[in-house]
Symmetry: C2
Subunit: 469 residues, 2 copies
Amino acid sequence: MPIGGAGARGRQRAALSRLAHEKSVDSTLGKLLDELEPYAATLPYDSNEASLIRVAKRDFERAIKVPSDHVARASAFGAESYEAWKRARPANDFATMLPFLQRGIDLGREYADFFAPYHHVADPLIDDADEGMTAASVRRLFAALRADLVPMVDSITEQSAADDRCLHGYFGESAQLAFCLSVIKRIGYDFQRGRLDKTVHPFCTRLSAGDVRITTRVFENDLTQALFSSLHEAGHALYEQSVDPVLEGTPLGRGASVGAHESQSRLWENVVGRSRGFWEYFYPLLQRTFPGQFDRVRLDTFYRAINKVERSLIRTEADEVTYNLHIMLRFELELKMLEGTLRPKDLPEAWRAGMDSYVGVVPSDDRDGCLQDVHWFSGIMGGGFQSYTIGNILSAQFYAAAIKANPNIPQEIAAGEFGTLHAWLRENLYRQGRKFKPSELVRRVTGEQMNTDPYLSYLRAKYADRIQA
Amino acid sequence: MPIGGAGARGRQRAALSRLAHEKSVDSTLGKLLDELEPYAATLPYDSNEASLIRVAKRDFERAIKVPSDHVARASAFGAESYEAWKRARPANDFATMLPFLQRGIDLGREYADFFAPYHHVADPLIDDADEGMTAASVRRLFAALRADLVPMVDSITEQSAADDRCLHGYFGESAQLAFCLSVIKRIGYDFQRGRLDKTVHPFCTRLSAGDVRITTRVFENDLTQALFSSLHEAGHALYEQSVDPVLEGTPLGRGASVGAHESQSRLWENVVGRSRGFWEYFYPLLQRTFPGQFDRVRLDTFYRAINKVERSLIRTEADEVTYNLHIMLRFELELKMLEGTLRPKDLPEAWRAGMDSYVGVVPSDDRDGCLQDVHWFSGIMGGGFQSYTIGNILSAQFYAAAIKANPNIPQEIAAGEFGTLHAWLRENLYRQGRKFKPSELVRRVTGEQMNTDPYLSYLRAKYADRIQA
């Protein structure tokens, strides 16, 4: 979007948000849903009809607590704050963002108060993204995970880091894009119902079930950006493209939660896309795509390079092992800002102290510090970070369940065949849309509650040769 | 858009059209406008406030005649028909489009009947695009113009056609796009409030006053497509980018009529962009953009090539002299289909007979015949073609007025300076937005009624050396 378009875009989004919200809280809708409840009670819990009535009712009861005016203000504020952040981050200008940060916190508290009483002010915001989770339950989950991750990071980083020079030559844009296209096509992304474009920040957007687009960005001196962001967004898109078509146009016709969604982007990006088997198939194709550049690079060297672990400053570029520590820091700071125990003006200092404690490196400026993520600077504060780690945890848990059902999947992947995995995820996870709460969904798909064991086992197996016993 | 997105896009457009229409016919709005009329009467006619009340009232009275249901049906039908046409035209498949054609005609009659009584069934449709014009007034205008154009075409095409081989070498896409960018930037298109992208069919779209985007298409074996479609769309965009910012967000904040808009796309594409002076400045740049390819082509040869006149099949590729004959044929057929004096199934035959009579060539299939334009196959039939010729007529009339006020403009153009022309058009035409009816606007800007004299003088002067006395 040209810079001159931002103001009107903000007003347009606010108007549409308000309109959509007004329709979603129409009292006629509430009455119709009340009338349908006895009928729903006669249907199987997991039928489409019962699920639709149940979820629509829950959405309605949530929506009527929020005034349309708040929705429109939050939307307009989000657009305005985002435009300011786009300029302030490269300028390392935290001072400009301070009043926006404060307003985001105020809006977060205002939003939470519509759902009072609550245990923690962040609970309603967390529940919006990952239904059923709370500040307390996320804190418990994160504390347990951190206890295992910190020694794992210590152990891996005590040794010399992997050599990733092979990823930093010159890789022409069109060749990179062609390679990304063939990879995501191969894993099952449907180009009849989507497309891949370039943007500054990669994303996946669902215009309808028949139009789920993804974007990527290309750095000609870094092979990993376009490739893994394409795989990440394709993971989101596989989910949206595979929701049961009969759910299209209903509140059930999309992914179950932010965390469940992130589990699929991370499953395809990391669990599959950074696996050795995946590259047994794709590495020869990569070598042909960039003639000469990988002639002397062994598959094993390449595999270690794309899985290099190091303490670093930028969340979106962090490896699988340290990534969650970045999230935990953000989650804690977010809770404190919402509680009022951390003043916005003290954020940069708290960030540096937290990075030192969680990740073990400290940024020299705010650009690579507390200004790096858009989340706190593009709308309501709160509930925006825990989903990434929930997604990582679930990515391994879902994948383990898929392997248990089809032990042949790893060999198929090494042969470039993704049909069994894709079909299993589609049947068990994707096609359900929003019929079930995340906790119900996890139990149905995996037979267990969400837990960190599969994820930790996955990391331990992957880095077995680098973790000291 | 991926093909899978069309269905939902159609439903979304229909929903938004219906919503927008419902708001525009709210009786509260009507009452408020009634209450404001006495106040408007105390204000100068050309004040923003009086104009806003006057135009909003006229829009309201027009809108309340059309049921929301019709708006939604027409919108959904338009999307569906367009998707069918995209496939049917390359397949030369008129039979598939016949029922769509019939429904478009039915919808056109249905729409017209909301405005009964009328002299001609096409009058309400023409009035929507070019307020104040009717089937009868357009027919009179066209008959007069045709009487002069036909002998002009005869006279020019009796001689051997211009040699345009220099336009049909190989011209790389990125070099063409870079050239287009520098040309439209130079004439004044504001990239802070717009951007240029590639699409199958070029267009200009206004998302807001601060975001007026244009598209083009590039043929690597034809230099003229990208260049002149960029200039054409940039002409539309200059108009929209220059409407007085205080009118933004009101019914006045866009161009005055379809014909007035087309006058600006044609002014910049043809009157300016195909003039000799324009190329005195840009030809050396073009030569540098395509090294070696124009070394032996004299400016005069190039100028004649881009102004080649010939009897041809495709409207959008027709030269300035024959172009209006294509429009006149379509306008006549459209009136007859709406009247019921031409049955849709007889359209291909009527097209061939008409092409023979108006242009002097006959297509061998419907793909290059009656299926070539999207207009009859993407929504309500009627009112869609006359604006092009009105635009041509006005392009010369507005330009003549600009030259009269600033006789130095042609010399400035030859020096690559477009500021005086752009500023004059902005002050006199663009910034007025929709404050005035087209007829009022033409009189204010040129001091005269719309008339064909400046346009015919322009063509006679341009082709003086090829028209036999």
